[in-house]
Symmetry: none
Subunit: 125 residues, 4 copies
DNA sequence: GTGGTCTAGACCACT
DNA sequence: GTGGTCTAGACCACC
């Protein structure tokens, strides 16, 4: 299900957060769907349950999931209002990346192609 | 000149690397222009010189600047050949960000507008 | 395990990088094998841990090892794609050394003998 | 005549030593031929005369040239006896480089081709 | 004066 | 306990 890279400089829990975000964003994990339990996922990925829990906590605080005591963790519906802060960050990040991509030689056509590629995948799911 | 957040989770030297990259990419620091000396910048930012040096070294190994003992550190001309590795990373990053931006409600029109905004600034310099 | 020359003009961390490279190249340290911890090696060699870390970091950025926070540093499998830059350097170095060896009186037979000697050892492991 | 790389991490005087060695090795500078004067070379290369002098001193101590007060510096005839020490170093260096080249994927055929290339150039000069 | 190396020692993040 | 970051302060090599 996941491919975690122990070699990466990025901490494992951050990788997990990112992967799960991707799954939610790409609608693989639908609204109110239950995430795998901490213990199950830990066993599946052969990593420490604490690490999983840390990832879930992070996702919760970012508003992507919610936890119900004794039942598990579930995907949050999108809350457009709450995300203005995050949108601002994403905009800033995009600007930086665009500048860097152009500096490294990418044309705006290539960048747009990439965008449409992602967008196409989005709709297909 | 810079605004560093000492409290941030991101290491100071990485923040520095990013800021300096921005300056180079946006042509504020031109080719072969001298960067502030390690000691000067350290004093200016009230940061340890070693930290500055770490940032400079990182920028050097990424090909953005070069350092000459006894003379200083200077901006490198772009080397399109050497940056294939970095381009790959940027492409991956862009894909992730696009997905996230769309998830948060941005339309592809908005994203493209942002791209053109950056590109415009680029050409004006 | 290592013999470092603290008096040498070559920085300690560079000596370390070289020695460790040798061990990896000669398969003394196998793929994914754990390197000694920064602190352990520092104590063993009576050298400051920062110096060891600098060496490890250099090896990491050259693609020979990878480091995982909280776990340790490990030998990387060879990545033939990523090393084009380094190969170029090695080729240049070889050319220079060949010229010097010939100047000092070595015949090309002697040089080839040396090559086969090394190659033999390589295959025996 | 020379191409010095100020960008290089290698000190300029070392680059000079290497270049001059090459010229001697490749017989561009013949036995007892006069080297350019320190001041001339300094002006030609637009670098500090002290740097040139340091390079000449180094070459002298390595036995490649000799200096005559008031007359200049001259190329030394090869002294096979004196070079056993250096030969030993070169042999060690070659072994290391061979191992590294093989590790990075070069075949012994490629290496030998490189050798013959250098050797050919040697005889042509 | 410039970058580069090294030490000693503190503190943090991850597992 | 692991690697990673940062500081303070010393000394060296190069130009």
């Amino acid at each position: 299900m996941f491919e975690l890279d122990v070699r990466s400089r990025k901490p494992i829990y951050e990788q997990l957060v990112e992967k799960l975000k991707q799954l939610i964003i790409n609608d693989v994990l639908k609204e109110d769907e239950k995430l795998p339990s901490v213990r199950d996922l830990a066993q599946q990925l052969t990593i420490n349950p604490n690490t999983i829990q840390k990832a879930y906590r992070e996702l919760e605080s970012q508003g992507y999931i919610y936890s119900v005591k004794g039942k598990g963790s579930f995907v949050n519906p999108v809350q457009p209002t709450k995300n203005t802060e995050e949108l601002k960050k994403v905009r800033e990040e995009l600007k930086k990346l665009f500048a860097e991509a152009i500096y490294l030689g990418m044309t705006s056509e290539e960048i747009q192609a990439l965008l449409h590629e992602v967008q196409g995948g989005e709709q297909d799911d």
